[in-house]
Amino acid sequence: MAPTSCSLCRDAKAILKRPKTGQQICKNCFFFVFETEVHHTITESELFKPGDRVAIGASGGKDSTVLAYVMKTLNERYNYGLDLFLLSIDEGITGYRDDSLETVKRNQQQYDMPLKILSYDELYGWTMDAIVEQIGKKNNCTFCGVFRRQALDRGAASLKVDHIVTGHNADDIAETVLMNIMRGDIARLGRCTSICTQGEDTIKRSKPFKYAYEKEIVMYAYFKKLDYFSTECIYSPDAYRGHARTFLKDLEAARPSAIIDIIHSGEAFEVKEEIKAAQKAQQTCKRCGYMSSNDLCKACTLLEGLERGMASSVITDRARKNMDAMGPAPDNIRTIPLFRSTPTIAVELPSQS
């Protein structure tokens, strides 16, 4: 059978079928459309302005590795005028994060970007290994997720950046839409399809890979021979997300456009005004100054639970009330330092070798 020619350039031989469109295209056209689509996502949402300092949330996994590579490429190609940094969070998971951080350090050399690594131990006085030792694997993702979000903001503040970009891809967003519907999380459902979110005191966060399929990111990394590490966490038993993920993969197998169709759905609806009005207003945490919908932010609540040896009982609001009923927090527990937008933490620069 004669080789199929690329349906875009109609010249080269097609070597892959794009998961997103089903078109048979050549390798060079794949690189071009992948990068140009990310460029369009960035420019049409006006994510950056010249001179912005942008931190790339880097885990060493495929998404963030490809993101760092594509951001660097686009910044040079289209003269965005951005100062790019790599920002990694060390959760303190032996045998998992220390290996992936090695990949990030190699990326720092390859892409010639300053790197900042901020650890849970440094910020909270607890590593995930220590947390899991106390609470077991159940609910440990709650601690990790809450701590990571705040750690990224604090790391970004230390780099004095205006913006954090993360490698969340279309599959992640579609999965989150489904999950928020299934667990009735109206507040998150309302904002999970936004390309850029910004709290009152926090740094802007955005997802340039919002419309990029996970399979295409893997394909891009494969053809570009990028250096990345598998980031399947050894403590990740998030059964609920697992259900949503399996369901999404089934939908994608039935019709590949399902991923983008779910994102379109998520962008087409919004939470009713009367429901929004009943939601809690955003304030700042009385202990650490980070944004919060209660007197204490979730990270301070979880940390207090850990310090008081009641960590497994502070996941829900009701459990939090039970802990409050047992009296105020002792003075000698560790707390998170006050959040300031311009703290000074040393930044590791790439060596000039």
Binding site: T4, L8, C9, D11, A12, I15, L16, K17, P19, K20, G22, Q23, N28, C29, F32, V33, T36, H39, H40, E44, K62, D99, K137, N140, V177, L178, N180, I181, M182, R183, G184, I186, Y211, K215, V218, M219, Y222, F223, F229, P237, A239, G242, H243, F247, D250, L251, A253, A254, R255, P256, A258, D261, H264, S265, E267, A268, F269, E270, V271, K272
Partner: protein, 516 residues
């Protein structure tokens, strides 16, 4: 396997399974009798269960019966038109028929000593909420060869309720001009045909083709279904055809209300499935809808038909128990249609699986969707599904994926195309091509996706002699496709490499080329 059914999850990481019910085995309502059924961790006895389901039914339906909301806390129920019930033969719609009949049509008006209705037959209290009720059933056997016609079985069920009139429809009526004339009152409406690609599927641009005559409604419908690119599209198209057939029939019969027997479980399935097919904009219509055909310019607007799902607070389990305890016979839905594997079937398996272990998740899906509304005002009504349509759908699709280098928006980016791919690239300004009529801009996101989104698997080659065009349902041109100015724009660990290859292998055409 763990309690949540996820084989990958470790036991230690999961929530412990909740008790099936609370401490007491007595009915939580009367607190006297031992319970017979557990509904979401609460125990009910047989006597209390039926009134609870009836109450849930009325609680959803009755606030929407009167055309206007008055000031009275318990207003007298009086609908502005007739009632239409959508009947599939399934569990929910069988219960719907029974409850509607017992509640509103069984003639339980209080009688005086002489055995006549108290206050006379003309007393407002004794008037029916709806003057009459029709039951619509859509027979889909024409869609598949070898499928049994069940119309007579369904008729025998409906005839058990003497107050109801049976209105049988056939799925191929959607392609039948005489049916359309009957329900719309329009003498003739041209049928729209779309071009087919070499593979026998609809083209991405949905170009309108010249008409081909001589097809019977069944042939036209089968041609339409075979031109759809996925199993998901076929099942979604069948659902839509049946829905629009019933909507038009109900409207033509002067109905003010159309009721479907969608249970909470079915509702959650349809909500999640609709979102997965890009139907987020019409999520409100999936729950409850006020529908009227778009009036032709200059004519009087039509009466509004309220589409309500009064069993939307009753789970499938409750429906099954209700049917069993009240001796309601259920024919069941046709098996061949249910066997279509697509997003609807996958969602059904997923939600039904969840319902067994996490009954509250099913309710959460519906409750969450009730809190949503479309972001922008509609730009019109979709020609195919007759639901509100969002604006700028094609712009959105074009923005998120590049499908052609001839797009004007790419002009500035084409300079960055790698040189090996520039050979055949035509970057010149396209010559003036005469505009071609295209349907793309007159479809909602979901319908456009249904018609054009393809499977990742290869398509079957069409049989030789297959037509180059396919007809669309007759209502697509109800407002006059050609007179309405519907002109298109006319433009036509360290990860080993093997593991990475495995992930993307199904998308690679020739693995040898990957080593370049």
């Amino acid at each position: 396997m763990s309690s949540c059914g996820n084989p990958a999850a470790e036991e230690q990481a999961l929530m412990p399974r909740r008790l099936k019910f609370g401490n007491s085995k007595d009915c939580v309502r009367c607190r006297l009798k031992p319970g017979n059924i557990v509904i979401r961790h609460a125990v009910y006895c047989k006597e209390c269960f039926t009134p609870i389901v009836d109450m849930k039914f009325r609680k959803v339906l009755e606030p929407s019966v009167n055309a206007r909301v008055g000031t009275s806390k318990r207003p007298k129920l009086k609908a502005s038109g007739n009632l239409c019930l959508g009947f599939s033969g399934g569990l929910g719609s069988s219960i719907l028929l029974d409850i509607v009949h017992n509640t509103y049509f069984s003639g339980r008006t209080p009688l005086d000593d002489s055995g006549k209705p108290r206050g006379g037959t003309n007393h407002p209290r004794n008037a029916s909420v709806w003057p009459s009720c029709i039951v619509c059933y859509v027979e889909a056997c024409g869609a598949f060869a070898g499928m049994q016609d069940r119309t007579e079985d369904i008729r025998s069920v409906v005839e058990r309720y003497p107050s109801f009139d049976f209105v049988p429809l056939r799925i191929e009526d959607a392609f039948d001009g005489s049916w359309w004339t009957k329900v719309s009152g329009l003498k003739s409406t041209p049928q729209v045909w779309l071009e087919l690609s070499k593979e026998g599927l609809l083209t991405d641009d949905l170009h309108v083709a010249s008409q081909v005559t001589g097809l019977t409604p069944v042939e036209a419908m089968r041609s339409y279904l075979s031109s759809l690119p996925t199993q998901t599209a076929i099942s979604s198209a069948l659902q839509n055809l049946a829905r629009v057939l019933i909507l038009h029939t109900a409207h033509s019969r002067g109905s003010s209300h159309l009721l479907f027997g969608t249970s909470l479980t079915s509702l959650s399935i349809s909500l999640l499935s609709s979102i997965s097919q890009g139907g987020g904009y019409t999520i409100r219509e999936e729950l409850q809808e006020e529908w009227a055909p778009v009036a032709a310019s200059g004519s009087k607007p039509s009466n509004v038909l309220r589409v309500i799902r009064p069993l939307r607070d009753v789970t499938a389990k409750e429906c099954a128990v209700y049917a069993w305890w009240n001796n309601i016979s259920v024919i069941g839905r046709d098996k061949q249609r249910r066997a279509i594997i697509g997003i609807v079937a996958l969602t059904k398996n997923f939600v039904v699986g969840l319902e067994k272990d996490y009954p509250s998740t099913v309710s959460t899906i519906a409750r969450t969707c009730e809190k949503l509304e479309p972001k922008d005002a509609p730009s019109g009504q979709c020609r195919l599904c007759k639901r509100p349509m969002q604006s700028a759908i094609q712009e959105w699709k074009g923005r998120i994926s590049i499908r052609s280098y001839s797009d004007d928006k790419l002009a500035a980016d084409l300079a960055h195309i790698p040189s090996p791919c520039r050979g055949n690239l035509d970057t010149s300004i396209p010559s003036q091509v005469p505009p071609i009529l295209a349907l793309t801009d007159f479809l909602c996101y979901s319908c456009h996706t249904t018609l054009t989104s393809r499977s990742s698997r290869g398509v079957k080659q069409p049989a030789p002699g297959v037509s180059s065009a396919t007809p669309l349902p007759i209502w697509v041109a109800d407002r006059g496709l050609y007179e309405d100015g519907l002109m298109g724009d006319g433009a036509r660990r360290k990860i080993p490499e093997e593991e990475m290859l495995d992930t993307v292998a199904e998308f690679l055409i020739d693995n040898q080329d990957c080593e370049e």
